[in-house]
């Protein structure tokens, strides 16, 4: 299957704002990667290696400092991060509707997805309560259900699945395996090795200088844990 997303020699650096040096802080260099439909890519790496930044580049939110990122025609991307994106004064239902519309669904299609988002998130009557009264787990469930149901071709998950309870984590893992058809792909960033092993079909290891290795799950974890 042709790649939904391809990264060629992608590097990222930020300008250093403190001090008068005017230099740049390099986050990572020369990432090369192709993500095909049906694949679930796990990304491991220590804190500060740029995992979240890489997801934002994949999500078309940041442009890389150098290198090339290309998406197959019509590829929509949904990024799910902890504590981001929800408006606390709006209800779960309103936030889900907005999230679907922000991902490109028409208002009518977004409204049509609300029932399945409510059911999958298991929020019950809380779906119509403001998100500010939600626990972290409830927010994660709403975010995950919205991302799963908004028909994005690529779902990028940044440390979200570790927050829900075990039952929801199992349900989310199963859904990612079952509902992600051959034309959709998932990228997961997590420090939970068991979950990464259960979900990923291939792995990317990010080191302090960029890409250390891409490959088979067992092989990468063996290297990463050394």
């Amino acid at each position: 299957m042709s790649a939904l997303l391809t990264l060629e020699n992608v590097s990222m650096s930020y300008p250093i704002t403190s001090g008068a040096s005017g230099g740049r802080h390099s986050v990572f260099n020369n990432i090369n990667l192709a993500l095909a439909g049906g694949e679930r890519l796990g990304i491991v790496g220590r804190n500060g290696t740029g995992k979240s930044t890489l997801l934002r580049i994949m999500a078309k939110i940041f442009a890389p400092s150098s290198g090339n990122v290309s998406w197959a025609s019509g590829t929509t991307v949904s990024l799910l991060s902890l504590g981001l994106g929800f408006r606390p004064d709006l209800t779960g239902s309103e936030n889900a509707l907005l999230a679907c519309m922000l991902q490109g669904l028409s208002k009518r299609d977004a409204v049509a997805e609300l029932a399945s988002i409510q059911a999958f998130s298991e929020l019950g009557n809380y779906f119509d309560e403001p998100v500010k009264v939600y626990s972290a787990g409830m927010r994660a469930r709403l975010g995950f259900a919205t991302a799963l149901k908004n028909r994005s071709k690529v779902i990028l998950i940044d440390e979200v699945l570790g927050v829900g309870d075990q039952i929801f984590r199992d349900k989310a893992t199963a859904a990612l395996r079952e509902e992600m058809s051959e034309d959709r792909a998932v990228v997961i960033v997590s420090h939970a090795e068991a979950q990464m092993r259960a979900l990923s079909t291939k792995m990317l290891w990010l080191g302090s200088d960029g890409q250390r290795a891409v490959g088979d799950v067992d092989e990468i974890f063996a290297l990463y844990n050394q």
Partner: protein, 268 residues
């Protein structure tokens, strides 16, 4: 910076407008939920302004000018549309950094949804203002139709200033303070409390109108609503030209800085 075509973010105009409208309506809903009086504040707020003006200018300062209360109400209730919208739009990229960090959208969507929210609120204020005018003896007149183009021009000015303010605050948070101070400065410099036509120095009046579009707009509202006359069309036309030039420049900045603004909003 290498940006391939897939990164260029465009939304069909209908989808964009629906999204902007939905964001604005949800923001209004959320705001209404926060207050016990909810949507009633749309009317209570202008009512309180008029009440305070009455106490201060008529009762305390003993102003004998029969139409001064109406003069103030027309000036203040239209000026506040500008000042509130621009100040709120200024913060819109920062307050929406969560969404900006998750979805690649045209960044102007956020200040524009705030401006749209202000427009919906202002519609209620205009209804209140027209009722207040009628109750004060100013009978509806065919010249009131001019209210529509004058308000449309003010909306365009608010859109432009709101967009520009949001970019400036995203570049440096310090601009938030300058914009707040700037709108207070404009409150005194735009003819809310004085009549530009009453200035003895006509050259100065001309300069004020040329440099500050709000002077022209506030004067136009008063000409239309209080004197049932058409506004100074030539001056309104020049305001339109100035605003359009600035708007085109501002939209170019948004297009050019789409990713930089996201990075700045998320990491600042």
């Amino acid at each position: 910076m290498p940006i391939n075509d897939a990164l260029r973010v465009t939304l069909p105009i209908r989808q964009y407008l629906t999204l902007m409208d939905t964001l604005a309506r949800f923001q209004l809903k959320a705001e209404a939920r926060r207050f016990a009086l909810g949507y009633l504040w749309w009317i209570v707020e202008p009512l309180l302004y008029v009440a305070v003006f009455y106490v201060v200018f008529v009762k305390l300062l003993g102003n004998r000018q029969s139409d001064f209360l109406v003069f103030l109400a027309v000036g203040k209730l239209t000026f506040i549309w500008f000042s509130k919208s621009v100040n709120q739009a200024a913060m819109s990229l920062m307050t929406n950094r969560g969404l900006i960090g998750q979805v690649n959208l045209p960044k102007h969507l956020f200040p524009l949804s705030i401006v749209q929210e202000g427009l919906y609120r202002q519609l209620a204020v205009f209804v209140f203002l027209l009722l207040f005018l009628t109750g004060s003896g100013y009978m509806p007149h065919v010249a009131w139709v001019w209210l529509l183009p004058v308000a449309a021009l003010q909306y365009l000015l608010i859109v432009t200033c709101g967009l520009l303010a949001a970019v400036l605050v995203c570049i440096r948070r310090d601009f938030q303070m300058l914009i707040q101070l700037g709108t207070v400065f404009l409150l005194f410099m735009s003819g809310v409390f004085w009549d530009v036509r009453a200035l003895e120095d006509t050259e100065l009046a001309g300069w004020l109108m040329a440099l500050n579009p709000l002077v022209v707009l506030l004067d136009s509202y008063r000409q239309v609503l209080m004197h049932s006359e058409s506004p100074d069309i030539a001056r309104l036309f020049w305001v339109l030209v100035e605003v359009l030039v600035l708007l085109i420049g501002t939209m170019w900045i948004y297009r050019r800085l789409n990713f930089w603004l996201a990075q700045r909003a998320v990491t600042q």
